[in-house]
């Protein structure tokens, strides 16, 4: 089993796990199970990033996304649960059918487009591609400096807003 079949196999495993975890995250009634399957999804996507040898992104994904955001969500769930909300919900059945119909319909379109697109069998040429934090850092600070700064302002604003929102005494 040479090196390429291994990477193919790895891709399929990761793809299957991410689809499975995404489905369970959406259709689980219990929030905790849903949050946990979401973490699994994040990790499998990080794996895919690694497979495309983008280590910085995978790290970012794992650290910020899986570690930060989902922890925040879990914290939120527990706090709501603490304050008395029940931790499960019933799904909307009628919208399920409609949404399923629309998504399958649109998936069909997208797939037709993808499979008939101009470059079907572009291979993953691993040689010569490197994406290191140094390259990303440089481009962040010269080419995309403006959006970088706007982002920082955005985060500051979110900081203030969240603290203002959850301040004690807000009726």
């Amino acid at each position: 089993m040479n090196e390429s079949t291994f990477s193919q196999l790895l891709f399929y495993v990761l793809a299957a796990s991410s689809i499975f975890s995404a489905l369970s995250a959406t259709f689980m009634k219990d929030f905790f199970k849903c949050a946990l399957s979401f973490i699994l999804l994040l990790l499998s996507v990080a794996g895919l990033f690694l497979q495309m040898n983008m280590p910085f992104l995978a790290a970012l994904q794992v650290l910020v996304y899986a570690g930060g955001i989902t922890v925040l969500i879990l914290f939120g769930i527990m706090m709501i649960y603490q304050m008395g909300a029940e931790n499960s919900e019933r799904l909307r059945s009628t919208e399920m059918i409609v949404a399923a119909g629309v998504s399958i319909f649109s998936l069909g379109f997208v797939f037709i487009k993808i499979f008939s697109s101009a470059y079907p069998n572009l291979q993953i040429n691993s040689v010569g591609f490197l994406s290191s934090p140094k390259i990303l850092g440089e481009s962040l600070l010269n080419q995309f400096l403006l959006s970088f700064d706007i982002l920082s302002v955005l985060l500051l604003a979110v900081l203030i807003a969240t603290s203002a929102l959850v301040r004690k005494g807000v009726k």
Binding site: R92, E95, V102, S106, F109, V110
Partner: protein, 646 residues
């Protein structure tokens, strides 16, 4: 012979003096009745004197006053009132405009003299008649305004000036009829008079407007030279018609309004609401003859055959029609009003007959106008002093007035005889001239019509005499003879009514500027008219005095004709029905259409539209987060798919 320029300057004074009186009275003496009446009468007398002087000079030199299309300029002095189109050039005139001024020609000079003199007499009469009336100052104000506009109309040399003063005369008749302001019937009668004449003036105005389009000129004399050019075919919208005949009928429509011909006569009997001097001046002598004057003035224009016959027949029919109604009237002024209508019918018939034949001479109709003014004014003033004496209009309450009002009765008798055409008196010469002309020129229908009307005239006047002078006085209180200022005009007018008829021959020579003469009336005319008058008086005497067949029996025998005559052939009701049901309904439709459709739909419609669309769009804001997300995401998904369709 005074040359023309001084005559023209004098002519300016004739209408000028009453106007001056009006201005002075209006601005300075409106408060005091005494000064206004004396001043107005003084100025009126002055203007009458001047008009007699001009009349005398023209009467004595008819040859020099033959006005034709070439020399009308030096017989008139005028100023440009309204320059319509200065850039218009044509063969005979530079610049198309409306001129107002004074004009001397036998017809207008005769009318000036007649109007001025009768107006003076009536001014004197009304000093006495209006004694003690609070609005006396206002009355004399209107009288001088009326005489100014009447004299202005009479001395006009073009259609527009005539139309201008025509309307002013209509205004003065509105003001004078509605003189008793708090009497509702007076106000309605004034309104009715003005609106009915306004309907007729619509025809006049349309005629003038089309004349402006076809001929670009209003002067009578320059138009009379272009008769053949004007009788060409003209296309207005969908109708094509020869211009001149249609034009003369339209102009005659205006005349029908003012001179009370058949459909437009309903306002004249109601105009008796005004004080009696007004009825005497306006609705007997002067204004109502305006239509006949207009026919005479543009006689050369109308000289083209069949439409004059139509006019003649309308005149004849009105004469008979009015005479029949007069038989059943009990108000003395109403009887005289209907008799005026029938005499006007005579004059129009006279003009129509003369117009129809080739060598027509307008003098017959105009002479009747001349004489009629005198004896009809006399009759009205006499009636006025009778009313003044008996304090009622109704002849059934009067009786044996001869004993109380001596002079009034005698003058009233003279007037009646003149009206019925008893030979020596004025009426005979003029009225029978018309009947004779009808007989000579082959209008046998009109001839018979004329004789019947003559008989009816003498019948109803005799009936009025019997009611007023025979039997015992039926009213309350004792009537008294009127004061000198009222009886003096009666006497003067009585004298005129006797002698004015004898000048028939010279009148025709004077009027036609020495061209035409009217052959004198033969013995047959004398006999027929005497027979008719005697028949009329005899039958009236038999029925009303001796009661051989009492009037009640007759009315019982002919119930329906009596009822129809009583109701004046329902003409008032027809007019009222037309106005009320057709015009007011149409105007109601227009008003509601405007309010509901044009305003409602076009303007408020937009307002409704915005409200309705807002109400619909409001539904989309359900407030539920899910619907927003659902719509948002689904539409993005579908939108992305549409991108991939190509």
């Amino acid at each position: 012979m005074i040359e023309l320029s001084t005559l023209l300057n004098l002519a300016w004074l004739v209408p000028g003096l009453p106007f001056l009186a009006f201005i002075i009275n209006f601005f300075f003496f409106r408060k005091s009745a005494w000064i206004t009446s004396r001043l107005a009468t003084l100025f009126m007398a002055g203007s009458a004197l001047i008009s007699w002087k001009i009349f005398y000079t023209v009467w004595t030199h008819p040859k020099d006053f033959l006005v034709t299309a070439q020399n009308w300029q030096d017989y008139s002095s005028y100023f440009e009132w309204l320059p319509l189109d200065p850039s218009y050039q044509s063969a005979i005139q530079k610049g198309f405009s409306i001129n107002i001024g004074v004009f001397l020609d036998p017809l207008s000079v005769m009318m000036l003299a007649m109007v001025a003199s009768i107006a003076t007499l009536i001014h004197i009469y009304s000093i006495g008649y209006m004694h003690g009336d609070p609005g006396k100052a206002r009355f004399f104000l209107y009288l001088s305004l009326f005489t100014f506009s009447m004299l202005g109309m009479v001395s006009s040399n073009n259609f527009m000036q005539m139309f201008i003063f025509w309307e002013l005369v209509g205004l003065c008749s509105y003001l004078l009829i509605g003189f008793y302001i708090n009497k509702k019937s007076a106000g309605d009668a004034a309104k009715k008079a003005f609106i009915v004449t306004r309907f007729a003036d619509f025809g006049f105005m349309v005629g003038l407007v089309l004349l402006a389009w076809v001929a670009h000129d209003f002067n009578f004399f320059t138009l009379s030279t272009r008769v053949d050019e004007l009788s060409g075919i003209v296309k207005v919208g969908l109708f094509t018609f020869p211009f001149l005949p249609m034009f003369s009928l339209m102009i005659f429509m205006g005349a029908m309004g003012k001179s009370g011909q058949f459909p437009f006569h309903i306002w004249l009997p109601d105009a008796m609401e005004g004080p009696t001097p007004v009825s005497a001046l306006i609705h007997a002598a002067t204004m109502v003859t305006a239509g006949v004057f207009m026919l005479a003035r543009c006689f050369p224009l109308f000289h083209s055959g069949n439409e004059m016959e139509i006019i003649a027949y309308i005149g004849g029919f009105t004469a008979l029609f009015a005479a029949t109604i007069a038989i059943v009237q009990f108000d003395v002024k109403k009887i005289l009003a209907y008799s005026t209508l029938s005499q006007l019918g005579y004059m129009v018939m006279g003009m129509g007959i003369e117009g129809a034949i080739v060598a027509g001479n307008p003098a017959t109709g105009v002479f009747h106008l001349f004489t009629h003014a005198f004896f009809k004014a006399l009759l009205f003033l006499g009636a006025g002093s009778l009313i003044h004496a008996a304090h009622t209009n109704d002849i059934r309450q009067m009786g044996n007035m001869g004993k109380y009002a001596k002079i009034t009765s005698i003058t009233f008798l003279i007037g009646t005889l003149a009206l019925c055409g008893f030979p020596p008196f004025a009426g005979f010469y003029s009225k029978d001239a018309i009947i004779h002309a009808a007989h000579v020129n082959g209008f046998h229908g009109l001839y018979i019509l004329g004789t019947i009307t003559a008989f009816l005239t003498s019948f109803y006047m005799a009936r009025c005499l019997i009611y007023v002078f025979c039997g015992e006085y039926r009213g309350e209180g004792t009537p008294h003879e009127s004061s000198f200022t009222m009886t003096f005009p009666l006497v003067v007018l009585a004298i005129c009514s006797i002698f004015v008829g004898w000048v028939q021959q010279d009148f025709t020579i004077f009027l036609s500027g020495g061209q035409m003469t009217m052959e004198p009336l033969g013995m047959s005319a004398y006999i027929t008219s005497i027979v008719i008058v005697i028949l009329g008086f005899g039958s009236a005497y038999a029925i009303f005095h001796k009661k051989v067949i009492s009037p009640e029996a007759i009315s019982k025998a002919f119930v329906f004709p009596h009822f129809v005559l009583e109701k004046k052939y329902f003409m008032d009701e027809i007019w009222d029905y037309c106005i009320r049901n057709i015009l007011l309904v149409v105007s109601w439709i227009c008003a509601t259409f405007d309010k509901k459709i044009v305003d409602g739909v076009l303007v408020d419609g937009w307002d409704y539209l915005t409200h309705a669309s807002a109400r619909v769009l409001k539904q989309t804001q359900t407030g539920v987060l899910h619907t927003y997300i659902f719509v948002g995401l689904t539409s993005t998904v579908i939108f992305i798919c549409t991108l991939f369709i190509n």
